[in-house]
């Protein structure tokens, strides 16, 4: 009987693992199968033509790139500093509680709500129009909880013995944080930041009403330009337009490119972490 229990438990462990892996492949295979052909270089580097029925996605790639980079420009500093505050200061308690509640609330909000918020707040209230700037700001708010949590975790994983050593050598609190805690946590901090980039790059709903346009024959010129973005482009190809038989293959290709980009970003995070960690065992 005990043997049977043991066996069935292991069986379910393997089964669940298998289901996870299989689902991933069921999900990836059609996209790769339908998407990989003729990607390089025409599709990556040409503009869409004839109302999205022909051509490439160059402006969407550029747009996604701009949106992502610009949003990190807003979210990284605020996120990192908040995380430092939570991990290293954590006083007074009511303020910490307030920030924590805000973070968990923010991370529980569906992304479409961020889109609507961005529309009413940045686009309308602050008259930023549908623009690169509005979209980046919306994305920045969306990614804040992810950044704060993971950077805080990274900082908290720094052994307290290192901090004690720093204090015993005459460091002030601030010096301990920036000479010991941050350098020691750096590989993890960097990884979390890069992973948050991957997350932001794939978001659709937040930029739908705040930044994205379905069709553009030009690259964005300034912060107030509308931009094309890969995820929204896929959405548009599938839901709008007049000739689905021409648009669906393009959507597959775009999905393939987006997946590939996110994969590259995440992979580089893993590689960087491994590289930096190699010299740091404790």
């Amino acid at each position: 009987m005990r043997k049977f229990k043991e066996f069935s438990f292991e069986f379910f462990i393997y089964l669940s693992t298998l289901i996870t892996i299989i689902s991933l492949f069921i999900f990836l295979i059609p996209i790769f199968k339908n998407g990989y052909k003729g990607i390089f270089p025409e599709f990556l580097f040409t503009f869409p033509k004839n109302g999205m029925t022909e051509g490439g996605i160059f402006p969407a790639i550029v747009g996604t790139f701009y949106l992502t980079i610009l949003s990190t420009f807003f979210s990284f500093p605020v996120g990192i500093i908040t995380a430092i505050y939570l991990a290293e200061y954590g006083k007074p308690k009511f303020l910490v509680d307030m920030i924590r509640t805000s973070i968990s609330t923010l991370s529980g909000i569906p992304s479409i709500i961020f889109g609507l918020f961005g529309l009413s707040f940045f686009v309308v209230r602050f008259s930023l129009e549908v623009s690169l700037l509005s979209g980046s700001l919306t994305l920045a708010i969306l990614s804040l909880p992810i950044i704060i949590r993971s950077v805080e975790e990274s900082l908290k994983s720094v052994p307290v013995t290192f901090k004690e050593a720093a204090y015993s050598l005459g460091c002030s609190k601030f010096e301990t944080i920036y000479k010991v805690s941050i350098p020691v946590a750096f590989p993890n901090i960097l990884t979390s930041l890069i992973l948050s980039i991957g997350r932001v790059a794939g978001e659709t709903a937040p930029i739908m009403f705040t930044a994205a346009t379905l069709y553009s024959r030009r690259l964005p010129k300034s912060l107030s330009s509308e931009v094309m973005a890969i995820p929204y482009h896929i959405y548009g190809l599938v839901t709008e337009g007049v000739s689905p038989e021409k648009q669906i293959p393009i959507a597959y290709k775009s999905a393939f490119v987006l997946l590939l980009l996110v994969l590259i970003v995440n992979l580089s995070a893993i590689i960087i972490r491994q590289k930096l960690r190699r010299q740091r065992r404790w």
Binding site: T161, A165, G170, K179
Partner: protein, 251 residues
């Protein structure tokens, strides 16, 4: 004649409402090794951490005086950074930073704002020589400190503290995580270092206290039971409790 380096007067320490150290009166003598012994949880570590105010991080409340260089270090306005460079500390578990060996030793100097590279180089080499580590690692100064053995790491931590030119060195059970050979090396090292500075060491190992210290302080339940010259205490302790602890009847 021995000179007094630190004087503790009517010192009490509380964590929240719990009194951890009770009415400590004590003199630490210059260029001597003072060992603090006692059973687990008696306040040894708390006492040694009082000398460089490391208990501040656990919200300790204190009263009474600890006088060092004519200043009460429990004063609110004292320059803690300056205090901690003058009173260095080595911890139970070797805790070099996960940086290079060089950067570990240079750390305190850089915190002080010293940028003169040749001065730092010189100081790093000298500190490493002082702990007999230089010859072992001179070809890999810029390797990670994590690649050293436990005993080497602990000597590196001593070198890191020495680079600040401290007057007092606090060691909180520095050899409890080390093998006998590394332990012996550190004991011999302290013997040499005490010519230049004053050493306070917490140890669980009674024999170690007997071997290396000039003065021994036995504390129990946060109070001093006996304090005196090691030779005398180990041969003719005044207090029954001390005798029982030293001979291993309890502890």
């Amino acid at each position: 004649m021995v000179k007094e380096k630190i004087k503790v007067e009517n010192f009490n320490l509380y964590f929240k409402d719990k009194k951890v150290l009770n009415n400590i009166n004590l003199s630490i003598f210059e260029n001597k090794v003072t060992a603090i012994i006692g059973p687990s949880g008696c306040g040894k570590s708390t006492l040694i951490r009082s000398f460089n105010r490391m208990n501040d991080f656990y919200n300790a409340k204190v009263d009474g005086k600890i006088i060092f260089d004519g200043i009460n270090i429990n004063d609110r306005n004292i320059d803690l950074s300056n205090l901690r460079t003058k009173i260095g500390m080595v911890f139970q578990k070797p805790n070099p930073f996960p940086f290079s060996i060089y950067d570990n030793v240079a750390f305190g100097l850089k915190v002080k704002g010293i940028n003169d590279k040749s001065f730092i180089d010189e100081k790093v080499v000298k500190s490493l020589k002082d702990v007999w580590l230089y010859d072992e690692i001179k070809d890999r100064l810029f390797d990670s400190a994590m690649s050293l053995s436990g005993g080497q790491q602990q000597r590196l931590c001593i070198a890191r503290a020495l680079a600040n030119d401290p007057e007092v060195l606090l060691l909180d059970e520095p050899t409890s995580a080390l093998d006998p050979k590394s332990t012996q090396k550190i004991e011999e090292l302290l013997e040499v270092l005490k010519k230049k500075l004053t050493i306070i060491i917490v140890t669980h190992n009674i024999a170690q206290a007997g071997r290396i210290s000039d003065y021994t302080l036995f504390i129990y339940l946060g109070e001093i039971v006996e304090f005196g010259e090691t030779k005398k205490m180990f041969t003719a302790p005044e207090n029954k409790k001390t005798e029982e602890y030293i001979t291993g009847i309890f502890g």
